[in-house]
């Protein structure tokens, strides 16, 4: 087995006022290298929380999370930061492009935080990959929503991540642009990248190779 992500009885609880919320309730999940997986479920089902736990953005209350065989649930902030920088690429619904940086500069941004000289990707190649070769000097304000999300995908790839995590990546896009984004994900997955997409959109989720349904913090 070539497991890249392994979750064993993962629980995430947090307090909201006096109420204790069980965001993730005993999830067991194995994801193999090169999988293209979607997590779907209603609002509040714990999709984003699960993605955060896998992306080392949040820590589980209990249980075990292994990335590439390394237990990350109890790692210190510095080590988690390093894993996020080198092993994981993030794509968010809200793009998070810096308004004063060009498309090319936005793509290079995460590379500022990684001391690596033998990087395989560069901004120009990545722009080419997402079909925006002619937009490298454009500011985000000069790009459409779909183009901004494509820049955000290129940016997530700059540090050669092993896993790409996308949280509602098509949530702000029309169906045509949503399709373009999914096509890019497919292309990346075909090259061997592990991709996990959180989405409300069942139609898009069905285009992935594996679908996980989450309800009340549990995998159904």
């Amino acid at each position: 087995m070539n497991k890249t992500i392994e979750l064993n009885n993962v629980v995430k609880r947090y307090r909201r006022g006096t109420e204790e919320v069980h965001a993730i309730d005993g999830v067991n999940l194995s994801i193999e290298k090169g999988e293209f997986l979607s997590i779907v479920g209603p609002s509040g089902s714990g999709k984003t929380t699960l993605l955060n736990l896998i992306g080392c953005v949040d820590k589980p209350t209990s249980g075990s999370i292994k990335l590439e065989g390394v237990e990350v649930g109890n790692l210190k902030d510095k080590k988690l930061t390093r894993i996020r920088a080198t092993d994981i690429g993030f794509v968010f619904q809200q793009f998070f492009l810096l308004p004063t940086l060009t498309a090319s500069e936005n793509i290079e941004l995460p590379s500022l935080f990684v001391r690596r000289t033998n990087r395989n990707n560069n901004a120009k190649e990545l722009l080419n990959l997402v079909g925006l070769a002619n937009r490298q000097n454009h500011l985000p304000s000069q790009l459409s929503g779909g183009e901004m999300q494509r820049v955000a995908i290129a940016r997530a790839l700059i540090n050669d991540p092993k896993i790409l995590l996308a949280d509602e990546p098509t949530g702000n896009l029309d169906s045509q642009n949503a399709q373009i984004i999914m096509d890019i994900f497919k292309k990346l997955n075909q090259k061997g990248l592990t991709i996990i997409v959180v989405t409300h959109n069942i139609e898009l989720a069905q285009k992935t190779t594996r679908l996980i349904l989450l309800k009340d913090g549990k995998v159904i």
Binding site: V57, K78, R84, F90, F96, L98, T100, F113, N159, D167
Partner: protein, 386 residues
């Protein structure tokens, strides 16, 4: 892409806010630069005037050094006088190179609106004031007068013109006009010593004597010799410098208080700008944390933004201070109890370095709190409310 470029581009997001903050820092930097230039320049100008001109010892009637300073330098009037013979005695002392006598008088107009300052001088004074540059010549006879540049300007007189001085009811012929010294000499009427003694009814009297030595190592010995003359008080030029520096101490304290206030206002402006920029980018910092920025990276980013503002404000402030220094020189003169000749504001590379250091250190210290706040942002911040 570098962190410096990122910091620079971040500041471009709110151009007006950034420019206003830079202007604030520039004003503080210009003030700092000017005051430090003044601090160094004033002392140097004073030393040049008092020591550089060649007067090593000031001799007056018995009193405090402050009175002596007032007498010889500012032309203050004290109704006690030396005998003319003291000048001759002083010249005879071995080791004395030059000695010049002064008789200083002031006469107020009947309504008190104007004060005429008269300086009776012996020709030896010329050797004690080598920085004097004169249009025309030395006194030709007892009816000659030399005017300070400001007097000549106000009276609209030139060399060879006649001038009637109402306060002593006497007409003189102008033999010379001093070039501007930017000191008190600009406001004096200079008369031959005998003429001054005659018109002020102080025949054979002097207010003070300036003494130049052949060898400074003999100062103590000659000072002791001079003190054997009746009713004299001898003040070394160095002590005089200290006394005058004490005189301007109040003005300097006021200047440093203003500097403190300007710096505080500027620091608060900078803190406000950086803190606002930090608070409004919480989500963005959260995102940067998600993609691998460590707490240290965010601290560096905020400090670089602060340093960029300080650098831009500092450079423009120093340039502004440098350009304004001649105007400031004129302005600051009116607030000083004693103004030496020569430039009072003397910018130097050393002052630029010290000012830059102060601006940068204060800036970085100001940026520490916002930087710390930024470093505390969790990566979860990016995901929140999505």
């Amino acid at each position: 892409m570098t962190l410096i470029l990122l910091a620079f581009k971040n500041l471009k997001r709110h151009k007006v806010r950034t420019i206003l903050t830079i202007i604030g820092i520039a004003i503080a930097s210009a003030t700092l630069f000017s005051i430090l230039s003044f601090d160094a320049g004033y002392k140097k100008a004073l030393e040049e005037e008092l020591i550089g001109t060649g007067i090593h010892l000031f001799v007056s009637t018995e009193g405090c050094p402050l009175e002596a300073a007032s007498l010889i330098i500012r032309g203050g009037e004290i109704p006690r006088f030396l005998q003319m013979s003291a000048l001759e005695e002083a010249k005879k002392i071995e080791g004395v190179k030059e000695a010049g006598g002064f008789l200083i008088f002031s006469i107020s107009s009947p309504d008190g609106s104007k004060v005429d300052l008269f300086y009776g001088i012996t020709q030896d004074v010329l050797k004690l004031k080598p920085n004097w540059k004169m249009k025309g010549s030395w006194f030709k006879d007892e009816n000659s007068i030399i005017l300070g540049s400001e007097i000549a300007r106000l009276e609209k007189r030139d060399v060879g013109d006649k001038i009637y001085i109402q306060s002593i009811d006497k007409e003189f012929v102008i033999s010379g006009i001093l070039e501007r010294t930017y000191g008190q000499d600009d406001g004096f009427y200079f008369l031959p010593i005998e003429t001054a003694q005659k018109y002020f009814k102080k025949e054979g009297k002097l207010t003070a004597i300036g003494v130049q030595l052949r060898d400074l190592m003999e100062m103590e010995k000659i000072k002791s010799r001079l003190e054997t003359l009746p009713d004299v008080y001898v003040v070394p030029a160095e002590q005089m410098t200290k006394e005058i520096l004490k005189l301007v101490g109040g003005t300097k304290a006021l200047m440093y208080s203003i500097l403190f206030i300007v710096l505080m206002v500027s620091i608060l402006g900078l803190l406000n700008t950086i803190l606002m920029a930090t608070f409004e980018r919480q989500k963005e910092f959260g995102y940067l944390r998600c993609v691998g920025a460590g707490r240290g990276d965010l601290i560096k980013l905020i400090l670089l933004e602060t340093a960029t503002l300080c650098l831009a404000g500092g450079i423009s402030g120093f340039g502004f201070g440098f350009i304004l220094s001649s105007g400031m020189d004129q302005w600051v003169r009116q607030f000083l109890p004693y103004v030496p000749a020569g430039s009072l504001l003397r910018p130097s590379p050393n002052i630029v370095m010290v000012s830059s250091g102060i601006v940068l250190i204060l800036g970085i210290l100001t940026g520490l709190y916002p930087a710390w706040r930024a470093s505390k942002v969790s990566p979860m911040e990016a995901i929140r409310n999505e």
